[in-house]
Symmetry: D2
């Protein structure tokens, strides 16, 4: 019995983790991409629990930054950033349910150089921004293009980074809000968390009927924090298997893979994001594994792990995790 | 020549600060109130620059907390909080313009006790919250009702506070987002800034065609920070005069009254909100009053004033101001 | 009966607010100034409760920035900044007591131009700093000299600011720490709070035998936040009356003047400083004025006032206050 | 040639990484332990670069919490917490140098159960604290004792955690400050960073003549963030090899082990600690490895790693690291 067969998705999902029909969500099906996570768009696809979606995502710049000579300020048109596939309506999903999303694969798409990183003015972890509003002069714009394949990312002539792709922006619709796809929050969104890659199952609290799944912003790799604000952005072909879980209450996105379970928080300042993540993980251990609250608090003090997703988006994202070996009897 | 005649609204407004037609935005005209600031709702009113709107606002709880025995947790239905009048479409307003809103009066409305404050679980400035997520037990719920009239607010048998009303939530629609009316941001929203009262003119950057003005959440008075999260909430009859300014670029809400000009920032952590406010004020002094940037920075160091609006909402709000006497030649 | 006669200092002080002997703490008596608040220096003066100290403070740069052509980076020698008079040993003061300091006057001292403000690299509220560590280029250095007298501060040819002096750095020694005089904390220190001026009484928790009072860093005036990090710095002659209060527990500095009582918190991020200040004020209302905790929390929500002292020092300082009229029966 | 032979310590150290004399710093030699990092204590040992120190550290509670029935509030005497060995004077160390500390081993010491964790009121990552000052009731006190050996830490009957010891508090004296050993900062101190374990070399900027090395607060293991504020605290026998590096400028602690180099920042809010760490790492790559600043910024965006040390101390500590494989040609 594989870890997947014992996952929450397989154990509690309406489809029991079994794969259903496969749906192409290519550029033609998608049509116009979306820039908010919200309930006001028409679904581009209607699927059943268990179904598989093969999505053609655009890069975070919608492909507009084509060369290292392009100026992001000229090419980009705020707030039309970080285009998303979706919404995908999931049959039977209701407020209070949990949407499970198993990431099967993420492949680079389109002509080389597929990967883009860039300095965008007043954006990034080591510069003054529109939030941390300062009088210093911004850094000059700069674009870097990189060849990306499953064999690796050619950062420069000397360094090839391993291909460790993940989905930067993934989640469901809020109930009545429609929020920029640049922002991560309790519904997921732009978490930029490297663990959201192939082999992971994500769990999102459903707030709107049919859940309305969105995704986009795949990264070929990324360091902790997405320091300059722009990872190795790439268009992708991403394959997801979706399921629906009834009678499971979660407040924030959760993640499960072969090795660990993780709760993901997004907030500012950064300590609040960690507090959210760790508290949600305490609740998880108490509710689903039978721990005493204080014992869980003590245990995470000794064995918890924290991953910094982003330190650049409207909210910072961190995940708190614990190895499954400590949870299984 | 009064200060109003020299205001930005009178000097630059399409209507030159002259009053136009008066529109009733009573409960019947409003119909369903709104819980997001966004472009997806149909305007309830279409007005011209200069027109006056007389709005019947609800209190932040939509009147559901009727007695001191009511439980906020039972009566309130997240996210349907902080109901707003609007959107009011303003003819000719386009992205890049500025909407000017002159607050003429705010009167309490409805049967006594008109005023409500309350402890709501996991909400407030001196408790753990859904953001500052902790394991401490929440404080018990509590509701306090107060008689409110223009003569004062009866806090208890001994203390009557002066009636110093203002609009807690006021602003325009983002371009493509629809964001909870609990949140303040660059479009205004739930700033909870006590200076937003009668005699003040607010300026908002327009992001969506026709601006889409929203308002609600009037307070009979409030301390700096709105400490427990709930001011003296009241339904009101609020009268606004609206104008439109072309060719003036602002990034965040601005305020002008007889004595000072203020820029208002909203962010987390709190220092970022002050930075936004002060930087916007520096820009204002440079662009409209001819100051050198560093001299303005030096001058605000010696003479700037900061007011804390809220320390409880999804973003904290602070205003940075400077007396007009220092700006006029 | 004046407000002073009803003050905590007069009501609870060992000297009952009565003035005792006067001590000159001029440059000769002081000798070497100090750059830390701590217990490791020898007292320069030993006084009794009730005694008056007339101190000659240096400006925050120890007078080294003499002209607008001086380079702060060249003239200043970190960490030898913000020189302090003291420590003054107060007879009978023990850990757990409260030191009361009544500010009688602050006069500018020395040749004109007495006042100095400056841009110091990687320091200030609207620039990247050694804490908010960024890659942006720092702003260029700049010095501004101003004539200062009791008649006003000549900011430029057009603007004379009122003379509103206060003590930027004032407090007592920690028990075993010796902390840079640039930092504000629970013992006082570099709070840069404009209310700490003539007519105010400050209360500090005593942590070390004889209290060890320090002071320095007087400002001719200052805006809220001390935005660029440097107020109108000046050398001064400052007159204090000191008293000692037994059996009164306070955790953070408190202030009293004719109109209000204030609790002062220092921390980062800024919201924590406000929380400290407001919580300490709640405790004060409960312990000394008989309020119920939640009623105090409700009342400050409606009538509390917050002043931003500094947003530039190692910890930010804010004060939360309430009018005395609401506290007296 | 081992990684150690190529380390900064071996390459640049006065002793070239060669071991010198061994000094016992047992309880008798230490005498009274210290509670501040500062220059005001007499050295307990004087060593030469290359010398080895074998220190008997106490646990963070100085052994006062002996059973699970002990009350931390009763046993602990603030500010006499987190006792430190030292100061150790290092011959020839001057302000501007770098002290290198190679951690050779950390062994548990004393009778079982050696390990202690606890809930201390108003302290910890998921509770209101003296900084995040709230009105919620504190969690009740609780103590947990654990047997610790090199074979593991017996958390409970089911779980034995691996023994992964490190030094919680390690560093040098500030120049004129003496700061509580509870605080981490640019001189090291209470960083609570799990990478500071056997096999790591730490580099600290020297600020005071003879450097004045302090250490204490060893942990048998710890999760990221030291969530409840108290790791598996234990008394230890810790062996260090010390060296001195001239002509190398660093602003914050740095760490090197076989696999990576790390810069460590401590500040509040948490994002400032990450900014410090990442900027210091950018500077390191530029100065010692010849990277262009923006290329380093881009590269860390894709390949940097962040570790959360503590989220509970007066400043939060995070380390930013990069694999050595990417830096070597």
């Amino acid at each position: 019995m594989s870890w997947f067969d014992k996952s929450y998705m397989a154990a509690k999902g309406v489809a029991k983790g079994k794969a259903g029909a496969t749906h192409a969500l290519n550029e033609a099906v998608q049509g116009r991409y979306h820039y908010v996570y919200g309930p006001y768009a028409e679904p581009v696809l209607r699927i059943k629990p268990g179904d598989i979606v093969v999505a053609e995502t655009q890069d975070a710049f919608e492909g507009k930054i084509k060369t290292e000579q392009d100026s992001p300020a000229e090419k980009l048109n705020v707030p039309f950033l970080n285009p998303q596939c979706g919404p995908v309506a999931v049959e039977g999903a209701e407020k209070g349910d949990v949407l499970a999303v198993y990431i099967k694969s993420i492949l680079p798409r389109g002509p080389q150089p597929v990967g883009t990183t860039a300095l965008i003015q007043e954006f990034g972890g080591l510069v003054g921004t529109t939030n941390t509003a300062l009088l210093n002069q911004p850094l000059p714009e700069r674009v870097k293009k990189m060849e990306v394949s499953e064999a690796g990312i050619k950062f420069n002539d000397r360094i090839t980074l391993p291909y460790e792709p993940f989905i930067g922006t993934l989640g469901v619709s809020p109930e009545i809000e429609a929020v920029t796809s640049l922002q991560p929050d309790y519904w997921g969104g732009n978490m930029d968390m490297p663990d959201v890659g192939p082999g992971a199952i994500l769990y999102f609290p459903v707030h709107h009927e049919s859940a309305y799944l969105y995704l986009g912003d795949c990264h070929a790799t990324q360091g902790d924090g997405e320091l300059c604000g722009v990872a190795v952005e790439m268009p992708s072909t991403t394959t997801l298997q979706v399921d629906l879980i009834k009678n499971w209450k979660i407040a924030w996105p959760r993640l499960e893979n072969e090795r660990f379970i993780m709760a993901i928080g997004s907030s500012r300042p950064m300590e609040d994001a960690v507090r959210i993540a760790y508290r949600e993980l305490v609740h998880w251990m108490v509710e689903d594994y039978g721990w005493d609250t204080i014992e869980a608090y003590f245990f995470l003090t000794q064995a918890g792990r924290v991953r910094l997703g982003n330190m650049v988006d409207p909210k910072y994202t961190l995940g708190a995790s614990i190895l499954k070996t400590y949870l299984d009897d």
